[in-house]
Symmetry: C2
Subunit: 154 residues, 2 copies
DNA sequence: AACAATTTAGTTGCACACGATTAACCTGTG
DNA sequence: CACAGGTTAATCGTGTGCAACTAAATTGTT
């Protein structure tokens, strides 16, 4: 990859990921409209449907989000009746996030709705998993580039 | 893909794209630190380095961004000396966005810096282009699902 | 016990992203 | 010319993301 020949915008992998991510967001926003959930709220519930309760920190490390993003998001989910937030008795710094009965009841309905929408895309299972794997590899590459490497070049 | 067996969060393609997109964003934020540019500002300049001037609408259709996002972003780029914004004489509804001399001068420096950083990832050209193509295919799938399809299921 | 260092969630400030609305402008038709 | 209908950029409101900071609580060390 030469440093003198600039890649066009549409040939940039970053732009493809950026655009695709926004399209996914839009897709889920539509699919989740019946439940009044945004995409970040949905993945938060997904994480909790897998494991709950979790502290804000644990949830954040699953989702790669910090408290600055999660705290207001969780407050909205609480207000809408999906989760409860309660400070731990053992360690009062931590806040335990747990699902409400409403969230447990709605789980299968949300799954079914989202999966129906995904089915419309007509993904082949093999393609899906192969692409998933490649995206994970890109993430590994991105993780392996430390800030130190970048500062060296500055 | 069954609707009864829920996929784990880490097996969801949407979450992989969501996470990868955030990592790319962080990567570019670091790479572009010397120029005080955010990633959306960078792709805006990329588009303009390819074609300029452009109206806000043209720019928006290249980047898939609407005026609600672009107007404040462009004002910041203008304030920092990268672009100029001028209402068209022929059609006063339109605003022509053009590069400043500063932006033209800095172009190669920005390209070199970003490409150096991308080189650190060690991408193979064939892999890169194959993955790019697959991401484009996913975007096509997402585009082909209209809101109508989703509403039918609601 | 005392107290410095660390951990945790919350807060603040800034920059997107986007739906919905608004205001100004252009265009086509009568 | 008049004016309804469409286009364009800007504005507003809500919801992320994230860096930097704060406050409270816990832990480690003396």
């Amino acid at each position: 990859m030469s440093n003198t020949t600039p890649r066009l915008l549409d040939e940039q992998l970053c732009f493809a990921f950026y655009s695709a991510s926004k399209k996914f967001n839009h897709f889920y926003q539509d699919a989740l409209k019946p439940f009044h959930l945004t995409y970040p709220q949905y993945i938060t519930l997904l994480a909790l449907w897998e494991t709950s309760p979790m502290t804000v920190r644990e949830l954040g490390s699953h989702l790669n989000l910090d408290s600055g993003t999660l705290t207001p998001l969780l407050k909205r989910l609480e207000k809408q009746g999906w989760i409860s937030r309660k400070r731990s008795d053992q360690d009062e710094r931590q806040v335990n996030v747990d699902l409400t009965d409403y969230a447990l009841e709605k789980r299968d309905e949300v799954y079914a709705r989202v999966n129906d929408c995904i089915d419309l895309m007509g993904f082949d299972d093999v393609d899906y998993n192969q692409l998933l794997d490649q995206v994970h590899q890109v993430m590994t590459k991105l993780d392996n580039i430390s800030n130190k490497d970048l500062i060296h070049e500055a």
